[in-house]
Symmetry: C2
Subunit: 197 residues, 2 copies
């Protein structure tokens, strides 16, 4: 479109860069925003501005927060001595949704990757080794993806931690999953790890 709608076009173009939105759905979202100007557009602009100026990585675990140290690291209700290692913050949030893990987290910020030249120092691995000592951690739970890079990273970390119990999430059939839709690797893993009823 032309000059007078520059602001609108710019907003649509930016919205279209969000994951899950394309050019058409961005247009629809922008029209919705304009219709709900005071209820949605203005509060959203302000919330983004605030998050843009306050959000940062927790200095201890790498979670996203608005202080130096995140709530989970500060909480007195969470179990000490147990740390769950995840690849990124999305994985941490996924773990938190299940509300079953009560220990602490450590966000690596990626996985080791020979192809992409990501070594231990590019990740938060040195900080992890510090925390193992300073927080007297006795159990490390590896919640890394079942990809080659994820598993390489898991083995590398396990090698660095003699004297610490290292476990990883179980592999198997997803709850509610149908066998018919599962890939061979998952079925093999589930069969090998079968349990007595």
């Amino acid at each position: 479109m032309s000059k007078g709608t520059e602001d609108l076009d710019n907003l649509i173009a930016l919205m279209a860069k969000l994951p899950g939105l394309g050019p058409r759905s961005a247009q629809r979202a922008v029209l919705h925003l304009i219709k709900k100007r005071s209820l949605l557009l203005i509060p959203l602009a302000e919330a983004m501005h605030r998050v843009g100026s306050t959000a940062r990585d927790c200095l201890n675990c790498g979670n996203i927060c608005t202080q130096d140290i995140c709530d989970i690291c500060q909480s007195e209700k969470r179990r000490n001595g147990q740390v769950c290692i995840v690849e990124d913050v999305a994985d941490l949030w996924a773990m938190e949704r299940s509300q079953v893990f009560k220990g602490r987290y450590h966000v690596l910020g990626g996985t080791l990757s020979a192809l992409d030249a990501v070594g231990p120092d590019e990740l938060r691995i040195p900080k992890l080794l510090d925390r193992i000592v300073s927080e007297e951690i006795t159990e490390v739970i590896l919640a890394l993806g079942a990809t080659i890079d994820g598993q390489t990273t898991a083995h590398y970390i396990a090698d660095q931690l003699p004297g610490v119990t290292v476990t990883s999430l179980a592999q198997g059939v997803p709850v509610g999953g149908e066998l018919d839709y599962l890939d061979d690797g998952t079925i093999t893993a589930a069969l090998n790890a079968r349990k007595a009823l």
Copy 2:
């Protein structure tokens, strides 16, 4: 989540209200925004703020713009005397995407509806009647939805405009559409309006 992530939770909750995003995809979008803070989050907050303060309805046709009168109404390249009537701005944008209509628009802002108590004065129909005279409009193209309310509105408008050529968009098989997937009404309309090759 808890106090320290209030800003984040608030942003996620607002994003989840956008059409096309749910709670999970809003989380993903927010993480993406934080990763691309200077490239996406800050510009998006500013673009929203700007649109929030400048966007308004064109006083003439009802299109969304940032001036009193929109570009399409102001343009000297567009044909005078021909006006396309649409239900809302999304429909106007859809027409503009096809780049085939070169006249002016008029956005009704809805359709007549007995159930929802929407009468002619709730829509931009009086303004349309003014424009017919002041802009010497000779052809009105009705691009309203093929719903009962849309067709009622079309007939009402046609009745108000003696001496003006009133047409409506053709109904038929969508380009690229397969007969198998079409509803009976569309097939009936397409058959009744069949053309000699």
